[in-house]
């Protein structure tokens, strides 16, 4: 991993809240995150961990009512996205920051030919003519490896398979050569053999376009395949950050460790160890450490809320656990 220089994206103390029965509750609490140039950062967590809300906050795609960014900064190319007007934001969306979603069928326009949907982004953001934009669209369809691209330009989304639709989404995302691609569970709805193809494609494009990728997933197997660095989220907070090698070789936070032990692996027959209980709801998070009620290493001091602390040894390695951070520092 060779991420150097200034981060492309810096998130500082970000808190996004939702209104639940007339009270504001934090879906994500004090997120700090850096994304380096040409790096794939995976955000991994279970449902309700706040990983998608983080991505939607970056692009300010949250619903206008019932959701708000309560505090924090999102610095991208020397600008704080939190303070931008809606007009300025729409100049960034789909241009220097693009996003792809889990279910491509709901993000594509079913009444518009695929070629035109890709060209549209180029016409809007780059001010090119439709003719030039369509030529560029054809090149993009080729680049995402859609067979017989010239013919398929004229097809509608329903004529594509799930994997091919996701490739079309990726082509649209790439249309304006974004610096940052946010990918929210882009392979979750795909079959494994197709997932492998799409992961390989994303990896190739990241290098070819010198892009950074924020890859959101619940699947630790996929994380190991694609990430350079990983942030593990639990109940609205980042509980651990590490390089992909460190995270799997030596998970520090008890939640990361428990998650790895609960995951059925295709290559090893080990006893599964379920995590007791379930993720606390947005309005029912405990006072101290969010994971304490399910944690096997719980101590009395875990009733205090832990900070995300840097660990000795490898730079950029942090964990939010009083017990484990002490152990690592003593070692």
């Amino acid at each position: 991993m060779t991420a150097s220089g200034n981060p492309l994206l810096q998130i500082r103390n970000l808190q996004t809240e939702f209104r639940v029965s007339d009270a504001w509750h934090a879906a994500i609490q004090g997120i700090d995150l850096d994304v380096m140039r040409n790096e794939t950062l995976a955000i991994v967590g279970e449902s309700g961990s706040g990983k998608s809300v983080t991505a939607l906050s970056i692009l300010r795609l949250l619903p206008m009512s019932g959701a708000r960014i309560a505090r924090g900064r999102i610095l991208f190319q020397d600008r704080d996205l939190v303070g931008l007007s809606e007009r300025e934001m729409s100049g960034i969306r789909g241009d220097s920051i693009a996003m792809i979603f889990q279910e491509p069928m709901t993000s594509l326009n079913p009444t518009m030919r695929v070629g035109d949907q890709i060209a549209e982004a180029i016409v809007i953001h780059r001010g090119k003519s439709w003719g030039d934009a369509r030529k560029e669209a054809l090149r993009l369809l080729d680049e995402v490896k859609i067979p017989a691209a010239a013919k398929r330009m004229e097809d509608y989304p329903h004529e594509f398979s799930g994997g091919m639709r996701q490739r079309v989404m990726i082509a649209i995302a790439l249309a304006c050569r974004p610096k940052l691609l946010l990918a929210d569970e882009p392979t979750t709805a795909l079959d494994v053999t197709v997932q492998a193809q799409v992961l390989a494609l994303l990896n190739e494009l990241k290098t070819a376009h010198d892009m950074s990728v924020v890859f959101i997933t619940h699947n630790l197997g996929v994380v190991a395949q694609i990430a350079d660095r990983v942030a593990v989220m639990y109940a609205g907070e980042i509980v651990e950050t590490a390089s992909v090698g460190d995270l799997f070789a030596n998970p520090v936070h008890p939640y990361t460790e428990a998650l790895l032990r609960a995951m059925p692996r295709v290559d090893v027959s080990a006893e599964l160890e379920p995590i007791p209980g379930s993720v606390p709801s947005i309005s029912g998070r405990p006072e101290g450490c969010n994971f304490a009620p399910r944690c096997q290493m719980r101590e009395p001091r875990c009733s205090r809320h832990p900070q995300l602390s840097a660990l000795p040894g490898s730079p950029g390695r942090c964990a939010r656990c009083l017990v484990r951070v002490d152990q690592e520092q003593a070692a």
Binding site: E46, S47, S161, G162, G163, M164, D191, V192, T193, V194, Q195, A196, Q197, L199, A200, H218, N219, L220, G221, V222, V223, A224, Q225, A227, V244, G245, F248, A258, L259, L260, A262, M263, P264, R265, V266, D267, S269, L272, E273, P274, I275, P276, S278, V279
Partner: protein, 329 residues
């Protein structure tokens, strides 16, 4: 014919084609070859996995076994009784022993009924005891899946996904089944909860000597729950055998692709696929010969012509591939 597994489920040459289209505004007529010539067994107390990608026919097989969809051809036998030829009364009796657990327990629970009503209904239908006995059975079942008894007087929307799946399992258990057919029972759950449910199913299997037909797309889950596995591709079983052996040394080229595409949580073992082009063809228009020949790295001329028969291998495996017709290549 000798009948080595009179106890348990035996499926022979099962076939199911769906007919689509035709008629006014129906579009062109199409035949979806969902299941073609599928044979396997689920011996008593064992769990057999049915794996494959979307459209391979694994769910259709699971439904055809219970005659929830009527197969076009083939035999389904449970404890020596042919389900296809069973009278209504026999079928009713058999269905008590064969229960289903679905992927999404929310859509399979009646939202307007209390959990107690949902659990007691099958017992009333099958006249399985007095009111007090039925009440007790429902309470036992809910405790057995690890939920408190007060759950019974609440409604499905009050529960999380994992709890609902426990309720779905409890409903399958009240009739004391012998075989549970589970269609992707943990796919909609988070990893931490998924492990809880898998552990529960494994405990039930051991305690009640239950058999499972376990449909899944996740090879990791199958490895942890199933003693043997059938790999399906476009309506055919291409390989079957003991789970660990099939996954650790897959024989059929499709099993190899499936195994190599399944991500492993170890960055040292990143996927390096030799060949992974194209996608699963449509079951409405399957390729001639072996259905995998369009994507197979070892394709030979014969593969385009003739569908290979499943050939038994020394390791207790069956592989349907021309490469294996003359022993190991």
């Amino acid at each position: 014919m000798s009948n080595p597994s009179a106890n348990g489920l035996r499926v022979e040459n099962l076939r199911k084609h769906f007919h689509l289209g035709g008629g006014f505004l129906g579009g062109p007529k199409k035949v979806i070859q969902a299941v073609n010539d599928v044979s396997f067994e689920v011996p008593k107390g064992e769990s057999v996995g049915l794996v494959g990608e979307s459209g391979c026919g694994k769910s259709t097989v699971s439904r055809a076994v219970l005659h929830l969809v009527r197969p076009d051809d083939g035999r389904v036998e449970f404890d020596g009784i042919d389900i296809g030829k069973a009278s209504r009364a026999e079928l009713r009796h058999l269905r008590r022993k064969l229960q289903f657990v679905f992927q999404d327990p929310y859509s399979s629970l009646n939202t307007r009924r209390t959990i107690r009503k949902t659990l007691e209904e099958p017992l009333h239908v099958h006249k399985a005891g007095t009111k007090a006995e039925i009440r007790r059975k429902a309470e036992d079942a809910i405790r057995e899946v690890g939920l408190p008894v007060d759950v019974l007087d609440r409604y499905p929307h009050e529960f999380s996904g994992g709890q609902r799946q426990r309720i779905g399992i409890a409903r399958a258990l009240v009739l004391d089944p012998e075989l549970v057919i589970a269609d992707e029972p943990v796919s909609a759950l988070d990893v931490s909860v998924q492990a809880q449910i898998l552990q529960l199913l494994e405990n039930l299997r051991q305690k009640r000597n239950l058999s499972f037909l376990f449909v899944s797309h996740d090879l990791g889950v199958v490895r942890h729950f199933c003693t043997s596995v059938c790999v399906m591709y476009l309506g055919h079983i291409v390989e079957q055998g003991p789970t660990r052996e099939v996954l650790d040394s897959p024989a059929h080229p499709y099993t190899q692709l499936l195994r190599e595409s399944s991500p492993v949580p170890d960055p040292e073992k990143r996927l390096t696929l030799v060949k992974n082009d194209g996608e699963v063809p449509s079951p409405a228009n399957p390729p001639s010969g072996c259905p995998f020949h369009t994507r197979c790295p070892h394709v030979m001329p014969v593969c385009r012509e003739i569908m290979p028969k499943p050939i038994a291998q020394a390791s207790g495996r069956k592989v349907a591939c021309h490469l294996f017709e003359h022993g190991v290549p």
